[in-house]
Symmetry: C2
Subunit: 517 residues, 2 copies
């Protein structure tokens, strides 16, 4: 059993640092800092965030080395970043029309919409929409703080979008209940901040989950109450398991006040059916739990037998929209077919919230002044795109379709491909941008990992990175059943690259099993 040099030096450097820090000699030499890992907020220190964790830091280091090292130093010529849902970073082209509108909205009128040559560069519907956006911004342009929740007209467009998507009566959704946010993350953070009043405040989260939840709950000092998704049933939800998790938490003195649902699933790629969603709503209603619905992948549903069914629609369908059920749904421009991550656009919709709590959230939003205007504009465009007959309609639709169809193909490439690797098992990916294969780890790896105090799937992920340049996130970063191992990968790089990735993962796994048998 032999570790390659990089991995070895990395493990050694971690050990060295720990040893050095614990000798009193070292402590005397280094000048005392006021803010250290020991004196800082320990909740923040102990927070874990795997998506950009140790493996990714290592990948960035190798990426830098790659540029300065002679050819042949590594077995690969580039890092394949499949650790994060960041479509444009791995080749997805931005949709054209939203960028054209955005550019015109940013340009002062005389250099943009009113420039004599504007029609040479921009289609008529982009010009018209930029004009509308300038009106929505009260003529202040993109450089002014907006209303803390976002401009009223954008919020109204979001309401219209939700009503149309869910076939709700016109006027069912109130712009007062919409908060535009910097991506979905900042909305999630606001709600968790409000929900966590003491260490006993419990939030039910799926296992596996997207680590923004565990990280933020840790940071605000609440308690994670995990409920397991059923891997053998395609990561389905199981009400008995929800009841078990809740009962156990209550027995332990946790005051469970809320429930997180991620649908379509991250990292698990499932799309829940109507009954499952309705069951969750009933469960929340029965136990008086506030429901956080992370629905940022609502456009990313690839299987013909699957369909996105929003919690908002479910609430209406089973009559819980008027009953006082508290629901917040998050959406984002980062995912879907826009993939505009860097824009940090998004919103949350509150349903059934106490209006005094809504005022408190308004206050919190105000202390950050407002979310960024280009992100707000992108959100407005996402929920209200070109209409049939508009100059850009055909092009926009065809760009979106191409992205969608390719994503659907890639979803199959990875889940089918991984499933064919002996020792791997991968649920079918119905939605989102991820798959989450289970990987049997060789005994030698398990033993070695135990000895070094590193989760075995981190050992695996580091090895995969160093041998192939493929950067995945160890499954332990998302939570999983004891004894299960694996990783999360996106399928965002090109179809060709994903085929290569599957092959490289297979070959590496054979070598890894030999190395650690």
């Amino acid at each position: 059993m032999k570790l390659n040099t990089l991995l070895q030096s990395w493990l050694l450097s971690s050990l060295t640092l720990n040893v050095a820090a614990s000798t009193s000699f070292f402590k005397e030499v280094v000048p005392t800092k006021r803010l250290t890992e020991d004196s800082m907020c320990q909740k923040l220190r102990n927070m874990e965030y795997a998506v950009r964790g140790k493996v990714v830091i290592k990948a960035d280091e190798i990426n830098t080395l790659l540029k300065s090292s002679p050819k042949g130093t590594f077995n690969f010529d580039h890092i394949v970043y499949t650790n994060i849902g960041n479509p444009h970073s791995v080749g997805q082209k931005p949709l054209t029309w939203p960028r054209q509108v955005l550019a015109l909205a940013d340009l002062p009128n005389e250099f943009g919409i009113d420039h004599p040559d504007v029609e040479k560069m921009f289609p008529s519907d982009a010009i018209a929409r930029a004009r509308q956006i300038k009106d929505a911004l009260d003529g202040h342009g993109t450089g002014a703080y907006t209303h803390s929740q976002g401009p009223l007209q954008f919020r109204q467009e979001i309401c219209d979008f939700i009503e149309e998507r869910d076939d709700l009566k016109k006027g069912s959704v109130d712009p007062k209940c919409i908060f535009m946010t910097n991506g979905a993350s900042s909305g999630i953070e606001m709600i968790l901040n409000a929900l966590i009043s003491s260490p006993k405040s419990g939030i039910m989260i799926p296992i596996p989950q997207y680590p923004i939840y565990s990280a933020t709950i840790d940071r605000f000092g609440g308690t994670q109450v995990g409920y397991y998704l059923d891997e053998n049933k395609g990561w389905d939800m199981n009400v008995a398991e929800l009841e078990r998790a809740l009962a156990q938490a209550k027995k332990e003195g946790v005051d469970v006040n809320s429930f997180v649902l991620i649908n379509p699933g991250n990292p698990t790629g499932q799309v829940l059916n109507k009954k499952a969603i309705q069951d969750i709503l009933k469960f929340c209603s029965k136990h008086n739990l506030l429901l956080l619905a992370d629905e940022v992948y609502q456009e990313n549903v690839y299987r013909e037998d699957a369909e996105f069914y929003s919690c908002r629609r479910a609430a209406r369908d089973i009559g819980l929209d008027q009953s006082g059920l508290e629901l917040v749904s998050f959406h984002s421009t980062s995912k879907g077919l826009y993939g505009e991550c860097g824009r940090r656009g998004g919103y949350m919709e509150l349903m059934g919230f106490d209006s005094a709590v809504r005022d408190q959230l308004y206050k919190l939003a105000s202390s950050h002044l407002c979310s960024n205007t280009p992100g707000q504009i992108m959100t407005s465009l996402m929920v209200n795109g070109p209409k049939k007959g508009d100059a850009s309609y055909e092009k926009h639709e065809s760009e979106k379709n191409a992205i969608f169809e390719s994503l659907a193909k890639r979803a199959s490439i990875v889940s089918d491909g991984f499933n064919k690797i002996p020792g791997f098992s991968c649920q079918t990916v119905a939605g989102s941008m991820y798959c989450f294969p289970r990987v049997e780890m060789p005994q030698g790896a398990i033993k070695y990992a135990k000895k070094t105090g590193m989760p075995v799937d981190t050992l695996y992920a580091v090895s995969l990175l160093e041998k192939t340049g493929i950067c995945v996130v160890p499954a332990s970063g998302f939570g999983q059943e004891e004894g299960r191992h694996g990783f999360r990968t996106t399928f965002l790089p090109s179809e060709e690259e994903m085929v290569r990735v599957v092959g490289a993962v297979r070959d590496h796994y054979t070598a890894f099993c030999n190395e650690y048998k």
Copy 2:
């Protein structure tokens, strides 16, 4: 003494709500919410943020009424929002060149920098810079998440800017120590999060202060340790007062770990001289306090006898840059001459920080993925503008100068104007965008305010709003000595409007004194 109808109804509605909520009948009728003001995070509930507080909410309500009411319903035809430093919302035009670069950076190449007609609409240096920015973003464009701290090349430009501004040796500032942030606010929040490890964690803040500090300290559950600025000496800093405040806090068992300096001052408009800055650094070094330097108004210095002197430069000048002093400086695209608030661009530079703490801050930044890319681009442009000889240089400089000169004029209009009102006293405004006059309140107003439990300067600000349409922030929202009263106003509306505002404030004050004599 007679309150006008709106104020009366506002006070009554608050009272009514309180009464209704306390009757058991009401409690039975309304369905129980899980998340209420009582069950939510109490630190968040108790947090105050005055800049967009009650008076502004009232202003927004009137603004809506204004649009739907017949002419003559109010004494004014528009609200003058001087509550917030939001230049573009009150008529300041954006600088042209940064918007042109931004638009081209957002456009896909074939529709932007490579479009055959691009030179008809855009100057050559904007096209060239957009090309560089696309390279800095690794060819991923503005739609991808960047490095959690911002792209390396942008951070390097920030380092160059700081080194040039402070006449530091090339290479003194390390891009690893730069974090690009959504405005300065999110950087401030990150640092305060790290600093507050228990309710005893104390942060020294000026009184008066910008309420993001008090609000965020409250939200994270730390302790504010106020030190008073000396109003009679133009809001100067006084070391004896710093020692007093620190000693008192220590006596009360507070573990004071840090010190906030806002220079140029918000809300106070002073610009500290070299000695004052150096004294603060020595004070922090002596007591091992981490220094948070809010330097977002560094370009907003209007008096010829004043000069911005950064903490970074002071540290070098007195040899504290190598001593281990921990300093973080915040900057933003929202202020200065850009005034690009909606962009949410900014950065913080860490000096002397423990590298393990820096890693923790990196982790925290990563959990938010990255700051928004248009904000990052605007920051890059702000720190590295057009150079002499570039196509846009002359125009860019002349636009900046026009904004600067007009701000300088308006600073005098308000501080001189308020000073001439009997009962008002206003320190000269040397910098920033605000002035903070002291106002003698009539006894009747003080008594009435006491009776209703409302700070008297809130009563005053609401009255000013309702009679004149001018929206200021009560001084109590920023902190002030017991018995002092007043308000903060920006001087961002046009010169003409600011002359009118001063007159209207004077006339209203006479009427207010009569009403409450």
